[in-house]
Structures are given as structure tokens and as C-alpha cells.
């Protein structure tokens, strides 16, 4: 993947600091290029429809639509973005993979772990 253009990435998290952190990490990874951020499920879906990102780094627990609901809706489109769940809860993993998430990483995720997830 590293030879191709970086993945256009959407960061979704309801915590501002978590978004900032992910932005810093993504900036350090050549394979990723952040195109937008959203702080709740509805905003994420709107933004995804507009930006058609390649990858969504998706928080699990959010006000309104949670991460699982967002992933389900994203999966509906033909050009579905790949989803990596980012959460402090390890107990959603099974449901996450049911939704064809490409990976499931735990907060606070290390840069190396994130690199491996997108490799």
C-alpha cells in the first residue's frame, strides 16, 4: 500500500483530545492522510458521504449513533470505506468483526499498532 497514494482517512471520535491524538499519529504514518474529523455518528455519515474516504478510524461509544451503527450504515454503500474500530472497550471485538471491520485497536493505540492495521 505504501507505494500507492495514501489512504484518505476520516477520524470519528466524540472526545476532542482523542481526535487530536489520532491526527498526530496519522500525520506520522505515510500511508495515511486525514481528510476530515467528526465527533458523532450522524456527522460521520454525512462527512463520509461527502468525502468518500478510503478508511474510517471509528470510535465505538458516541452520543446518538454509536460506532457499530455507523459501520453498519457505511457498509451499505458500494464504495464502502474500510473501517478500523478504535476503542477502550475490548468486548465489542466480536460484533466489530461481524461488520467486516479490517481491524480493532484499543485505546491508547500505539503508532506501530496503527501502522500494522493499515499495512
Amino acid at each position: 500500500m505504501s507505494s500507492t497514494a495514501p489512504l484518505r482517512t476520516l477520524i470519528v471520535d466524540d472526545e476532542p483530545l482523542a481526535i487530536e491524538r489520532m491526527q498526530v499519529l496519522c500525520a506520522e504514518i505515510d500511508a495515511l492522510s486525514v481528510v476530515g474529523t467528526a465527533s458523532d455518528g450522524e456527522a460521520a455519515l454525512t462527512l463520509a458521504a461527502k468525502l468518500t474516504p478510503d478508511l474510517v478510524l471509528l470510535d465505538m461509544t458516541m452520543p446518538g449513533m454509536d460506532g457499530l451503527a455507523v459501520a453498519r450504515d457505511l457498509g451499505g454503500s458500494a464504495e464502502a470505506a474500510a473501517v478500523i474500530f478504535v476503542t477502550a472497550h475490548e468486548n465489542f471485538a466480536v460484533e466489530a468483526f461481524d461488520l467486516d471491520a479490517i481491524d480493532y485497536v484499543l485505546k491508547p493505540v500505539a503508532r506501530e499498532r496503527l501502522e500494522r492495521a493499515v499495512a
Binding site: D14, E15, E20, R21, V24, P63
Partner: protein, 406 residues
């Protein structure tokens, strides 16, 4: 202290001082009674009799201490063995006591007989063979010269007189043995009571420990995530502040003896630390307010009792909300009881007024169980939606400084 009582119990022993007191008491009793008796009968030789009696009593104390040293070897044996030991051991003890009595009084015995005889108009003397002669003026028994006729009384052998005294001393020894066995039984009952009390306390402590509330582990990971964000974005001052807050929070929440009470002031301070940390995570969505009257700042509550309630408010009111939610911790006194309220104006509660929040029950159940274990029927927890959101109230007996301040 508690652990000592729970160790394999030492066999119950009658304390040495108690043993000595019982023996000395017994002989003091004997000494006084016999002295009173001799005063009443006026046997004479009061001074000499007194110190000889004291000497005999002292010997009695020493002999009975010896009895105790042997009898205590049967402390852990069955009752029948102890009784048999007492019956058998008292035999040599009685003989020894009688012998001691004999030794103490032998030198004076003769004179006493003489004196007693004189009082009755008799002459008591011994002949060459050691037989006791009593000269009695019995009518019709006088000899030709009108002199009193001598009556010879067989000399009491030393053994006979010792056996005679030993017979009485045997029951005296048995009486003390009975007292000792009663004391031993009392000690055993007390030891059993102590052990039972220790077990009860340990069980209570274990129950409270098991109910100790564990801070939601996700809190730590989310907090570390925020902290990492502060570090990665170069906000070192904020990062340092947060590290200090987290350290203080965990130090206090981990160090607390789960069975101990803390002043409400400290419990509020702990929850403020927690909410300060959560405010870093949710800067635009979480606001915390505290209403603790000075008069109640010293009132005692079980440590960390508010933690599940505050966590519930963050999880069920703040996390699902896109707007700002206020969590309010307040305390008041009501009819001599302490009422502490954790309330929030989060969404969801009004909408779902009919049923409690999902997953709310675990934390609430913990609070309920802890208060029930600690206060029994004296505590209550009431939880439910309010006109503005959701509130949980705990009511416990008012204790601590507050009682005087209020």
C-alpha cells in the same frame, strides 16, 4: 490483632494471677474462719496459734500451687479425665496438707491439751511411754486418798492424726479443683466467644472488601488516551496537571481501607478528582457542581460510596449527550440523617422515565449492597428520573463531626 485471634487457637488457660488469687483466697478464707472459731471457743495461745496457723496456710498455698502445676496438664483433656485427676491428685495433696498442719502445730499441741483440760478441771499429762493421761475428778472414781483417778488414753499415733486431718483437707482440695475447673470452663467459653467475634469481624471485612467498588477499567484507558493526546500535541503543562490528578485519585482510591469511613469532605474531593479527569475527556459536555454545607463536611460515609453513582452519571448522562450535562453532588441533613445526592440533567432519563437506565443497576447494586452490609436497615438508596434528569439519593445515619457541628 484480628489475625491473632484467627490463628489456630491456643488452648484456653486460666491466667496465673487468677490461679494464685483463687488459692490464696481459699487459704485466706480458711485462716479467717479458723481464727474466728478459735476466738469464739477461746482455746488460748492466740498469738502463737495465729502465726502457726499462718504458716500452715502458707504451706497450703505452696502445696496447692503444686497441685495446679499438675492439674493444668489435664486442661485440654476431657472432663472425666480432669475430674479423675482432681480426685486422685487430691489424695497426696490432702496428706501433704495434713502433714504440714501437723508440723506447724505439733509443738503447741501438748500445751493446748493441758489448757483445755484445766478449763474443764482436768489434768492432762503424758506418762513415760508417751500415753496421754487425763486426771479427772469423776464421782465414785476417786481413789482412797481422794485424789483424782488417772484415765489413760491411748496415744494417737502420728499417722492416725494426720489421716484424720487429711480427711478434711481432701475435700478442701476438691473444692479448689472444682473452682479451678469452673474458671477453666469460663476461660474456654470466653476464648470461644473471642474467636467467634473475630470470625464475624473477618467475615464482615471480607464482605465489605468483596464489595469494594473497582473503578471502571475503561476509565483508565480512556484517561491514558487523553493523556497521550496531551503529550503528543505538546500540551505538557496540561499533561502534567492530569498526571498529578490521576495519581492523586488512584492513590486515594487504592489506599483506602475499603471497610473504613471517610469524611464527606474527602469523598467529595475524590469525586472532584474523578470528574476533573473526565472533564478533560469531555471538555464541552461535562460540568460538575458541588454543594457540601460546612456543617456536613466532617460527616462520615463509606469511602468511594459515591464512585459508582458518579460513574453512572458520566456513562449514562454525559457520554450519550451531545450537549453540556451538569452533574451535581450535594449533601444535606434530614431528620438527623445524612442525605447525599448525585444528580444530573442528562437526556434519556426523562424520555425513559418508566425504566431505569440500562446497565445502571450494577453500580447502583454495589452502593446498595455496601450500605446494607455497613448499616443494615439504617440506610436506603433511592434512584430514579427527576424533572430535569436523573438522581440517586443515599440516606445513612449521620455520624462524625457533623453531629456536633449541626
Amino acid at each position: 490483632m484480628m489475625d491473632d485471634d484467627l490463628q489456630q487457637p491456643h488452648p484456653a488457660r486460666v491466667p496465673f494471677t487468677t490461679v494464685i488469687a483463687s488459692i490464696v483466697g481459699l487459704w485466706l478464707c480458711y485462716f479467717l474462719l479458723v481464727t474466728i472459731r478459735s476466738e469464739l471457743l477461746d482455746l488460748g495461745f492466740e498469738q502463737e496459734m495465729l502465726w502457726r496457723r499462718a504458716l500452715a496456710s502458707l504451706a497450703g498455698v505452696v502445696i496447692m500451687v503444686g497441685l495446679w502445676l499438675v492439674l493444668r496438664l489435664f486442661d485440654t483433656r476431657p472432663l472425666w479425665a480432669k475430674i479423675t485427676a482432681a480426685l486422685l491428685l487430691s489424695l497426696p495433696v490432702a496428706l501433704a496438707l495434713a502433714e504440714a498442719n501437723q508440723m506447724a502445730f505439733a509443738p503447741i499441741e501438748e500445751r493446748v491439751y493441758k489448757r483445755m483440760g484445766e478449763q474443764e478441771g482436768l489434768i492432762v499429762r503424758r506418762d513415760a511411754s508417751g500415753d496421754l493421761l487425763v486426771d479427772a475428778a469423776i464421782p465414785g472414781m476417786s481413789d482412797t486418798k481422794g485424789q483424782p483417778r488417772s484415765v489413760t488414753i491411748d496415744r494417737y499415733s502420728a499417722w492416725e492424726s494426720i489421716i484424720e486431718i487429711a480427711f478434711g483437707r481432701y475435700f478442701m482440695s476438691l473444692a479448689w479443683c472444682a473452682l479451678y475447673l469452673a474458671l477453666l470452663t469460663g476461660e474456654k467459653a470466653r476464648a470461644a466467644e473471642r474467636r467467634e467475634g473475630a470470625f464475624r469481624r473477618a467475615a464482615k471485612a471480607a464482605e465489605l472488601r468483596s464489595l469494594r467498588y473497582q473503578v471502571n477499567p475503561h476509565f483508565l484507558f480512556n484517561t491514558l488516551n487523553s493523556l497521550s493526546a496531551l503529550v503528543l500535541t505538546g500540551k505538557t503543562a496540561a499533561a502534567e496537571r492530569m498526571i498529578q490528578t490521576i495519581s492523586t485519585f488512584y492513590r486515594r482510591s487504592l489506599a483506602d481501607d475499603p471497610t473504613s469511613d471517610v469524611p464527606l469532605r474527602e469523598e467529595f474531593a475524590l469525586q472532584k478528582l474523578y470528574l476533573d479527569i473526565e472533564t478533560v475527556r469531555f471538555p464541552d459536555r461535562l460540568k460538575a457542581e458541588y454543594d457540601l454545607p460546612d456543617s456536613l463536611a466532617g460527616a462520615l460515609v463509606p469511602g468511594m460510596i459515591l464512585q459508582p453513582l458518579v460513574e453512572n452519571s458520566v456513562k449514562h448522562a454525559v457520554a450519550p449527550a451531545s450537549r453540556k450535562v451538569t452533574i451535581t453532588l450535594s449533601a444535606r441533613e434530614e431528620y438527623g440523617r445524612l442525605v447525599v445526592t448525585v444528580a444530573d440533567d442528562g437526556a434519556g432519563a426523562v424520555r425513559d422515565a418508566a425504566r431505569p437506565r440500562e446497565g445502571f443497576g450494577i453500580g447502583l447494586g454495589n452502593v446498595h449492597d455496601r450500605l446494607a452490609a455497613r448499616f443494615g436497615n439504617e440506610a436506603s438508596v433511592v434512584s430514579g428520573p427527576t424533572s430535569t434528569g436523573y438522581a440517586t439519593q443515599i440516606r445513612i445515619p449521620l455520624a462524625g463531626e457533623a453531629r456536633h457541628a449541626a
